[in-house]
C-alpha cells in the first residue's frame, strides 16, 4: 500500500487526466450525433417552409420574421389556385409528350440539377430546358418553375428561386406565396407522387442558406472586424488615461504594495519557465547529437551549451524569486476551487477577436491525419506530465523502503511498469533461492 498523501495526489492526477479525456469524448459524441443525423435521410420539417413576409418590397424585412409562417391573403390564394390549374395542365401536356417518346420523366429533371451548382443559375437552367421543349407554353413554365421545383421533391427545403425577384418575373406574386406545403396538398400532381426523401449525398448541393441568416452572419463578421480594428485605435486615449488613473487609485487605496504579484501572474510565469526548461532541454539535445567537424564548430557547440547553462541559471534564479515572493507576501497561489482560466491563454489578444482564420484541407485523409496528430500530441503531453508526477512520488518510495522482501519486489515491478513502460508491459524478476539443503 502506498502512503496516504502520495496516494491521494496520484489518484487525483490520474482522475484529472481521465476527466479531461471524458470531456473530449463527450464533445466528440455530441458532434458525431449531429453529423450522423445530417448524413441520414432528413425527416420532413414540422414547420412550414420559411418565406419572407409577403409584400411588395421586402427589403426592410424584419429578420426574425423570416422564419415565421405567413398566412397568404385571399388574393394570393386565388393566384395559387390559378397556378395549380396551370400546373396540372402543364403536367398533362408533359405526360403527353413523354408518352410519345420523350425520355425525360419529371423525376429525372430534378436529378439533373444535381450536376450543377445549386445557385440561381441552376434554376434558370432548368427553366430553359422547359421553355425549350414547350415553346408554346411560354408563360406557364415560368410560373411553374417556381412552385414545381420546390413542390416536387424538396418540399421540405428552402430553395432559393422563390426569393429572387429576377426569377419571379413580372408581378408574379405567386412566387411570394408559400410553396410546397399548401401547394402540395392542393396540387394533385399527375407525376409520380413518391415523396422523395432528402439526403445530403444526393441533393446537398441544392441547399442554400436563408437570406435572413446570411444577412445576420455578414453583419456579424463585419461587426467583429470593426471591433478588432478599433481595438488599438486612438478613440480611447482619454478613456485609457482615465482607466489607468482609476486602477492606480484602486491600488493605492488598498494598502497593499503595488509590486505584489497576483497568483495569476505567478502561475503564468511558472508556465513560461516550464516552457523555457523544455526548450532549453530540446536545444541541448540538438547540440549533443550534432557532430562537430572542426574546432570552430566544436567551439560554437560549446559556447551554445554554456549559454544554455547560463539561461537555465537565470530561470532558476527567477523561480527562486517567485518562491520567496509567494511565501513572503502570504500569497495563496492557487486558491481552493479556483475557476478555470477565464481568458484563453493562446490567441494573443486581438487575434481571437477577429473571425476565425481558415484552415484548408484537401482530403478526408488529410483531415484525419491532422486530427490524429493533434490528439497524439495532447496525449503525449499528458503522458509526460503524469510521468513526471509519478516519478516524483514513486521513486522515493522505492528508495526508502528498506525491507527487501517480496512486497518490495512487487512494488519495484509495478513501479517499473508504470514508469518505464507506460503501464503496458511488465518485467519479470527471478529470485535465486538458496539451494535447500
Amino acid at each position: 500500500m502506498l502512503p496516504a498523501d502520495c496516494s491521494s495526489r496520484l489518484v487525483a492526477e490520474l482522475r484529472d487526466a481521465l476527466d479531461s479525456c471524458a470531456q473530449r469524448q463527450r464533445q466528440l459524441e455530441r458532434s458525431l450525433r449531429i453529423s450522423r443525423r445530417l448524413l441520414r435521410a432528413w425527416e420532413p420539417a414540422k414547420t412550414p417552409v420559411p418565406e419572407p413576409t409577403p409584400g411588395p418590397e421586402t427589403d426592410e424585412e424584419v429578420p426574425s420574421s423570416a422564419f415565421t409562417a405567413c398566412s397568404p391573403s385571399p388574393q394570393d390564394l386565388k393566384e395559387l389556385e390559378l397556378l395549380t390549374q396551370v400546373l396540372e395542365k402543364a403536367v398533362r401536356v408533359r405526360k403527353g409528350i413523354s408518352k410519345a417518346g420523350g425520355d425525360k420523366a419529371p423525376t429525372v429533371k430534378s436529378e439533373s440539377t444535381a450536376t450543377s451548382p445549386a445557385t440561381r443559375a441552376s434554376t434558370r437552367l432548368r427553366a430553359s430546358d422547359w421553355t425549350g421543349s414547350h415553346a408554346s407554353e411560354t408563360k406557364p413554365p415560368r410560373g411553374i418553375r417556381q412552385t414545381r421545383v420546390p413542390a416536387k421533391d424538396l418540399s421540405e427545403h428552402r430553395l432559393v428561386s422563390v426569393e429572387d425577384p429576377a426569377c419571379i418575373g413580372r408581378g408574379a406574386r405567386a412566387a411570394k406565396l408559400e410553396p410546397s406545403r399548401r401547394s402540395q396538398e392542393t396540387v394533385p400532381l399527375a407525376a409520380p407522387q413518391a415523396r422523395e426523401v432528402f439526403t445530403l449525398k444526393d441533393k446537398g448541393i441544392l441547399l442554400q442558406l436563408p437570406v435572413a441568416f446570411r444577412k445576420a452572419a455578414s453583419q456579424n463578421s463585419r461587426l467583429w472586424a470593426q471591433l478588432s480594428s478599433t481595438h488599438t485605435s486612438d478613440s480611447g486615449d482619454a478613456a485609457t488615461t482615465a482607466k489607468n488613473h482609476f486602477l492606480q487609485k484602486m491600488q493605492t487605496t488598498s494598502g497593499w504594495p503595488s509590486s505584489r504579484l497576483s497568483p495569476a501572474e505567478v502561475e503564468a510565469e511558472v508556465g513560461r519557465l516550464q516552457k523555457a526548461c523544455s526548450l532549453l532541454r530540446l536545444r541541448m539535445g540538438e547540440e549533443l547529437t550534432a557532430d562537430p567537424k572542426d574546432w570552430m564548430q566544436e567551439y560554437r557547440c560549446l559556447l551554445t551549451l554554456e549559454g544554455l547553462q547560463a539561461l537555465a541559471g537565470q530561470c532558476l534564479h527567477r523561480l527562486q524569486e517567485l518562491r520567496t515572493a509567494v511565501v513572503e507576501q502570504q500569497l495563496e497561489p492557487w486558491p481552493e476551487g479556483r475557476l478555470p482560466r477565464a481568458s484563453s491563454p493562446c490567441g494573443g489578444g486581438a487575434d481571437t477577436i477577429r473571425s476565425p482564420p481558415l484552415l484548408l484541407y484537401s482530403s478526408t485523409q488529410e483531415l484525419q491525419t491532422l486530427a490524429a496528430l493533434r490528439l497524439r500530441v495532447a496525449m503525449l503531453n499528458q503522458q509526460i506530465h503524469l510521468e513526471k508526477v509519478l516519478m516524483a512520488e514513486l521513486l522515493p518510495l522505492v528508495r526508502e523502503q528498506e525491507p527487501l522482501g517480496p512486497p518490495w519486489l512487487a512494488l519495484c515491478r509495478a513501479v517499473h511498469s508504470l514508469l518505464c513502460e507506460g503501464g503496458e508491459r511488465f518485467l519479470t524478476i527471478l529470485r535465486e533461492d538458496e539451494p535447500a539443503d
Partner: protein, 419 residues
C-alpha cells in the same frame, strides 16, 4: 484632430451621458443587470448586490464548453467570485470580507467590475468566449490542453491509502479512453469530410465554398435554425453596444472615481489571510527540480569537452580572435531568439487558436488561410520531440530502478520483450 467634433457641453447632455453609457454597458454584458442596479450599487444598497454577484460570476468563469452549467446557488457563486478575484490579484480586501450569502456589498462589487473592465479587454474577451461559431472549428495549437487547471483538491473518497494496482488500473483505463477517443475522432473527420464535399458550392461566401455542420443543421432543422439566428442577432446587438461603449466610456470612468472616493479608506496593514495549501506550489517545485537537473547535465557535458578543446586548440593568431568574436556573437543572437520563444510575446509566430475548416481542392491558390499540410508538419515535429522527451524520462527511470535493484544479490531482472 480635425475629426473630433467640438461639442458644446450642454448640461442636459452631460447629465444624460452617464446613464446612457451605463445603459450601453449593460447591453454588452452577458447577464446585463439594469442600469438602476448600478446606481443603487454606488450607494451600497443591498438590493444591488445579488445581481452584481451573478454578473461577476458570469464574467469570471468562462462558459463551460459542454454548455450545461449547473446553476450554482448564490453563495457558491459568491465564493467562486472571491476566489477568482483573489487569484487575479484584486487589491481590495473589503471584498473578501463580504458575507457569502450575497446580501451586501453593492459598491464593492461595482468597484470589482470596474477593475476587471479597466485591466484588460474584458468585454471583448467575454464576447469572444461566447461567440456564435458558425463554422467547424479546430484549434491548431495545443495551448488549451496544456492550460488545463491542475487537479482540484483531492476528493474525500480518495483519502486513505491505495494499492499500486489501483494506479495501474487507472492508467489502463486512461489508455483505453485515449484509444476510444482516437477512433471517434477519425469517424468525425470522415463525416465532416463528407458533409463538406456534399455541400460544396452552397455557401454564399465564395471563399468558404461549402456549408459547415452548423449551417447544414440549421437547414435541416428550422426551429433550431431560428434559435441560431436569434443568438446571432443577440450577439450583433451586443457587438454594436460594445462598439458604442468605446465612444462613451470616459464618463463612466470619471463616475467610478467618485464611487471609489465614496468608500471608506482601507486599513494600511493587511490582516492575515488564512493560508490554503497550494497545489501550484508543487508545480513550481517540479520546474525548479527540472531546471536544476538540466543545469547539472549541461555542466557535466560541457566540462570534459572544453578541456579537450582547450588542449587541442591552444593559442592561435589574430584571425583566431576575430572568428572567435564572430562565433560568440552568432551564438548570442541564437540564444536571444531562443529566449524570445518563451518570454512574453514569443510564440506568436506559430498559428494559434481555433481555425475554421474549409475543404478545398488540392493545389488551390494559397493565401486564403493556413494549409493543413503545414500544420501536419509542425505537429509531426512536435510529436517527435515529445516522444524523445518521454523516452528520456522513461530511460532515466529505468536506470534508476536498475541501480536500486542491481545492488541486491540473487535477483535476475528480465525486462519485457519488444523494446
Amino acid at each position: 484632430m480635425g475629426r473630433r467634433r467640438r461639442r458644446r457641453v450642454d448640461p442636459a447632455d452631460a447629465a444624460r451621458a452617464l446613464p446612457e453609457a451605463i445603459a450601453v454597458l449593460t447591453r454588452t454584458l452577458p447577464t446585463g443587470p439594469s442600469p438602476e442596479t448600478f446606481r443603487r450599487a454606488k450607494f451600497d444598497r443591498p438590493e444591488a448586490a445579488p445581481a452584481l454577484w451573478r454578473l461577476l460570476f458570469c464574467v469570471l468563469s468562462p462558459m463551460p464548453a459542454d454548455g450545461a452549467s449547473p446553476s450554482l446557488a448564490l453563495e457558491a457563486q459568491a465564493r467562486s467570485v472571491k476566489a477568482a478575484l483573489r487569484f487575479q490579484g484584486y487589491p481590495r480586501r473589503a471584498l473578501a470580507q463580504l458575507p457569502d450569502d450575497g446580501s451586501q456589498g453593492g459598491r464593492e462589487l461595482l468597484l470589482a467590475l470596474a477593475w476587471l473592465l479597466a485591466r484588460g479587454p474584458t468585454l471583448e474577451q467575454l464576447l469572444a468566449q461566447s461567440r456564435v461559431r458558425l463554422g467547424d472549428e479546430m484549434p491548431v495549437c495545443e495551448c488549451e490542453s496544456l492550460a488545463s487547471p491542475g487537479p482540484a483538491v483531492p476528493s474525500v473518497e480518495a483519502d486513505g491509502c491505495v494499492d499500486i494496482r489501483h494506479l495501474q488500473w487507472l492508467m489502463g483505463k486512461l489508455r483505453f479512453r485515449w484509444r476510444k477517443l482516437m477512433a471517434s475522432q477519425q469517424e468525425q473527420c470522415a463525416l465532416l469530410g463528407k458533409i463538406h464535399s456534399y455541400t460544396r458550392g452552397c455557401h454564399s461566401d465564395r471563399s468558404l465554398g461549402h456549408l459547415s455542420v452548423t449551417e447544414t443543421e440549421l437547414l435541416r432543422d428550422p426551429e433550431g435554425g431560428q434559435q441560431l439566428l436569434q443568438r446571432l442577432e443577440r450577439e450583433n446587438v451586443r457587438l454594436e453596444a460594445a462598439l458604442e461603449w468605446r465612444r462613451r466610456e470616459l464618463v463612466f470612468w470619471q463616475w467610478m472615481d467618485t464611487v471609489l472616493g465614496a468608500c471608506p479608506p482601507e486599513a494600511s496593514q493587511p490582516t492575515f489571510l488564512p493560508k490554503i495549501p497550494a497545489q501550484g506550489a508543487a508545480e513550481l517545485e517540479l520546474v525548479v527540480r527540472e531546471l536544476q537537473a538540466l543545469q547539472e547535465e549541461l555542466q557535466g557535458v560541457a566540462e570534459t569537452r572544453w578541456a579537450a578543446w582547450e588542449a587541442r586548440v591552444g593559442g592561435h593568431g589574430p584571425e583566431w580572435s576575430a572568428s572567435r568574436r564572430a562565433l560568440q556573437e552568432a551564438v548570442r543572437q541564437d540564444l536571444v531568439a531562443l529566449q524570445w520563444a518563451w518570454e512574453r510575446g514569443g510564440g506568436l509566430a506559430q498559428p494559434h487558436g481555433p481555425h475554421r475548416l474549409v475543404r478545398t481542392e488540392a493545389g488551390a491558390p494559397e493565401g486564403r488561410g493556413l494549409q493543413a499540410t503545414e500544420v501536419i508538419e509542425v505537429l509531426r515535429s512536435r510529436e517527435a520531440c515529445l516522444e524523445v522527451v518521454l523516452g528520456q524520462l522513461q530511460g532515466q527511470c529505468r536506470q534508476e530502478l536498475a541501480r536500486l535493484v542491481g545492488t541486491l544479490p540473487g535477483l535476475i531482472w528480465i525486462p519485457p520483450p519488444g523494446r
